[in-house]
Symmetry: D3
Subunit: 288 residues, 6 copies
């Protein structure tokens, strides 16, 4: 909404780079804490993806974590406890009754969900590269991405039950719609057991496993590059219709799609794409 001239100028917890034209690379930048999140971080993450969503120079996004240890260790529990972000997780709340505490917590959870959800709402496809420790919030975040790649050393856990709570930032909402086996989803969510990259690929959580983080970044960037060479009208429409499809019936989605494409087919991109197909040249599409 408010995209100032330099929307990315003041990033503190994320690093933004452009490995190739129209591709943005977002890195979680708190490697010394295993990229664990506190409130200022997820607010910033929300802002970054809101800006990327409308940035006409960007057509695909890669999201990864800095450092060699892991994508993200989850919530920074210490910061959360200090900031009272696990609500009255300490009980004995002094003045506030349970209803009022509840109301405060509900707003807090809603804002947290909203920030993380910006990844999903981003109009551009997001490719998450998951390496090393990828616990708790890492799963919430990864489920918001369009495509997930793993590095062979990745260790995943839907960690929340281990700290006494049900995951509430989206893992339980999205994971069952991201992989096919309900039995597997419930097992990993109810036990918090760690699973690796190979298992993640077998159940369909990630669509590829890369040997090292470097190769993973290459693969993710290449994939983003490939997408960014397509018509941005076609790519944005494809993401939007797939997003809509998850939460709607087929009939509803077809109706929505027909209205969507009734405008989008009037793009010059169709001609550009067809012509370059005939001429065996790379098409060049206007900004969106």
């Amino acid at each position: 909404m408010d995209s100032p001239a330099e929307p990315y100028a003041s990033l503190r917890y994320f690093v933004l780079s452009h490995p190739s034209p129209h591709v943005a690379h977002v890195e979680i930048n708190r490697a010394d804490k295993l990229n664990a999140f506190h409130e200022a971080m997820w607010l910033e993450m929300g802002s970054v993806f809101r800006a990327l969503s409308h940035d006409p120079e960007v057509r695909a996004v890669v999201l990864s974590g800095r450092g060699g240890k892991g994508f993200c260790a989850g919530l920074d529990v210490k910061a959360a406890a200090e900031g009272d972000m696990l609500g009255s997780s300490g009980g004995g709340k002094g003045k506030m009754d349970a209803a009022r505490t509840s109301q405060k917590l509900r707003r807090h959870i809603g804002e947290f969900q909203g920030s993380v959800g910006e990844i999903e709402r981003c109009d551009k496809p997001v490719i998450a590269l998951l390496h090393g420790i990828s616990f708790g919030l890492a799963i919430d975040i990864a489920c918001c991405a369009d495509i997930r790649l793993a590095v062979a050393d990745a260790k995943f856990s839907v960690k929340e039950v281990d700290i006494g709570l049900a995951a509430d930032i989206g893992s339980l909402a999205r994971l069952p719609k991201v992989v096919g086996s309900s039995s597997w989803v419930r097992e990993v969510c109810l036990t918090a057991r760690i699973f690796g990259a190979e298992e993640a690929q077998r159940v369909g959580f990630v669509s590829r496993v890369c040997e090292t983080k470097e190769k993973g970044l290459e693969a993710a960037t290449a994939l983003a590059g490939l997408i960014s060479e397509k018509s941005p009208v076609a790519v944005m429409g494809t993401k939007e219709i797939l997003k809509h499809s998850r939460d709607h019936s087929v009939d509803d989605n077809l109706r929505y799609t027909s209205v969507w494409n009734s405008a989008m087919l009037q793009s010059s991109d169709v001609q550009v794409a067809l012509l370059s197909g005939i001429q065996k040249k790379k098409p060049r599409f206007e900004k969106l």
Copy 2:
């Protein structure tokens, strides 16, 4: 609705045969153009499946493409451009403003979706055999079938982004509900990359891979034959309830099912089936 005495008499783009009792085999019949579709074809396809849906002699349908090169190469883009079927895909539409063009396109897409959707609405199970080139519209069509088999040489692509548009005839609505891995679905839809039969089986898009087209047809026909020997009341009910289940909650589906079966359990087929089970004979069921 209008099922004349000879509903299949005047087929131009499809061939209909009956490889075994109660089994219909529909073949796309434009092998010289890789079975690419133009408007008259999909209208005819809609009519064929509408007629099969109510044909009391037919209990299961096999759908395949003629020729050795492929099931279907997608939309016949040349015909589409001439017939203005990609809308004003060339822009500069002369007299019509963007809103009016949009309205025309919306109706056009709706009718196209409607014709292809007749495969899904068909009361009889449809088994699609996919071989060779199976691009674009081939995926839309295949997603409407109940069961998909692939020949080893099959090459699949959700091709639409490569011609500058988001797939709008059903691939994006149905594919995420046909296979389990959202990461994989988004990858193939956003990149249009080609994938083969083995990958298609691994992700669950097809349930079997056959060595050659001939073996594929044998397998598909045998599967259709097996289904056509079951109670047609049971088979139609199973398809209907599964279709309903995709787009409704479990509670809604259970309620619908209880109403459905409150009539269907009054069929004589239950007795016929139980008796033939005891007598170790093949049951013979009345027409539906």
Copy 3:
């Protein structure tokens, strides 16, 4: 609702034991008839799971079938025919017209669905161990469990079309939401073909295959034990939110989750879990 002092005292068709603290083991106890169900059995099963749902001593449930031959052979068709439970399955109903017969059948199906559905509604996670013959109703029951394990000798079949009817106790409602491949689901539902443990695992129907029934019970009990050591507030919330997620959009689920956790985060379990994490001790949680 009405949980008397000894809710499990009068069990006739089920055996209840407690292999470890907070773990309940429910066994179907009609091995001489391959654990086939008649009406009194499913009513009792419903009562058992309704009681377990609110039993503060129980935090996870294992469900299996007694005997070496199988988990459950399905409906006891002979008893069903005698009790007229397949409705007028014999037609010629004497006095009642088809509408009145239909009304009676609809209520009957609804009550049957309701009893089986208690497994799903149970507030505690349910782990089903499937061995040997697991036909028809066995699939309906298994689909209501949270996690499914198979013994290597398991033989599965969505058997209903073979007795002339569409499955109406939940298999067609839940199976498509339990595994990822629609093509596979429709194939096994339309053909009633038997499939084994390995195939069940490959498509995601079960999440593990165990060599023998004994090893299966060990695995199921260990899994239940692991879950029962977690915070019961976290586990119940995780099950509830996952259940809600299946039938709702992501946005709806996130809203529901934020309200749910606004109360649940006020549990002392979060502190207990965090503290025991720091102290490397096993946490001890209050009853729920």
Copy 4:
């Protein structure tokens, strides 16, 4: 779909006229039978409204019944019984079992619903003028119209329970969404009691009562004329979005609306309308 050169040429049970530019008037033309319907009639009614929906010359439609006695007395029960259209309403169906009869009836009801529903699906607003006897099917039809006017002599009845069945062509689906008082809706549906024009207006079923049929036709035609002078892009969009709104949440409708208008705002009609507002002239809009 199939709009031949003269789509209205062969009307038998309806009369079509054009009382003013862009306004079509459809009259039910079986006054000697109180405009009671048989199958050929509703099929023709479906065709008429399908053609009107896409007819660029038509921007609003008036629907009324010929003769002085009534809009429509409902289903022609005698014809229905002969044509077996109340299904096996006589029971004892000879060869067909209850399941097969049920299947035949289900298709029949579906086609009947489909024909009547074309009034609702028609892209142009439909104004129904209800006079005299308006029973049973008259209510189903009226509920599909956008706006209902009544003549003072109108007598309404949701008549179906009086002939031993629940209304199945749409009255029970739409009436509760057409008027505000659930208590009133259930009373008139459960008792089939007759109510008059004044009561119909008080509960909001009709929005105006006219003294005589002649004055009613003037009012309906004037209303249609007023609508037909507005931008056809704006009018069609308004109807479409209102239709969508009835069956969707507010959030879903807002999303759909934003996509719809993203194309429609590119119409020249906005400028034409604004300019003519400034110039105090009647705007002239292009065909749609």
Copy 5:
């Protein structure tokens, strides 16, 4: 489910009579406490309506309150506080943390909602006669009835905000779907202001106002009598389809209706009704 030989034998808080054939009259029987409810009462009310739902002798139900002071003054707050039914409404719950208290309250509310909801789930139409004080729970109960009549002295209030809570037994869920004006609904729910019979009729909450309680009972009984003379197949179907319609889209409801009537049209009631129409005799329908 459990309908013993004498399901109504042991009623303590309700009186059941049969003012005319096939009509049941249920009276809340705690006039000395203004018919205020405690837990045993609503459990009994649930049982009564569950039994009536399946009682073949009953075709319509009248619900009223004994005594001259009012239909029901709401929850018996004193009993609720003692029984801890407003949860820890007093806070400081001793041993239980807020999450565990919350869990207990959630189950309690769910069971309370379930008992009251039996009125809505009852297969027979329910007519509520509201007189005098009709506060709080009286509105929840009345909203579950199909038809509401008021006595002129009725005083209504959605009272819950006045005791510090949001109504949770159904008023807020159903009232907006029972009357048309959202502005009015929100005003009376947010302010708890008292409104009278005339206002209730004007906004459509009740469909008739009767001068005295006696006249009200006559009117309610006559209405129930009228309904009970219709085909019970038609009446039950009408209620079921209207109930379904409230919570589903028109398309969904039409599909459900076509399946429902595919069995119900095979009733002999259609012939009986038509014949008695021709013969000008009262029809006699078989039990359902």
Copy 6:
């Protein structure tokens, strides 16, 4: 989200006052332009209601327009045309193709809807007082309020079709859910005809008509005052559950409500309310 120390300090187009404790009065402050809106205004309106939603001092809000001429004349069309906010409403967009223009418009409409929707999302009840000219956007805004009062001189119009477009900021989404008569809604939306306060009350759009603007403000402020004296926990819960109820089934809403109240019943407000009822004193509730 970002509620600085002085969230209301810099208001330009709105005036905020506090006519009584816990009541906020928001006035649209552009009387010289009949309170017509441009983009900066609706962004500011969104911010105001976002701040009010979380402001612990505020428990109810009155919304009105400054000046004697009207609540709001709608969109400031001149500003919109200059700022290109009717999209390419003039067509001939120079460089941008129709698809790209469409994409820009879609985001713009979404943001506009989002700002206006903050009134609905506001956790505190909003009472709109409508006087004089209340056209176009005035209806969108009014439909987001909880309660609507009208001054006798109010003139309403769903004006959008008169400027060549379908209303897209919420009138068509919400109006059919705000009043009961679909026929009336469609008539006023399709014709843009002006209606007065009395008609608005008769159809339920407003719940009261006041003689003059002064009396209207008194009434609105008194109503807000009455609400603000109730338990803020009860009031917020009532609004939230009513909001949820509009877009969900009754069953869904009951489940949501039981979770909501499982925390909220733990408020001390219940005791405070009961006690003050006994003591006949005004209750004093803690901030929320």
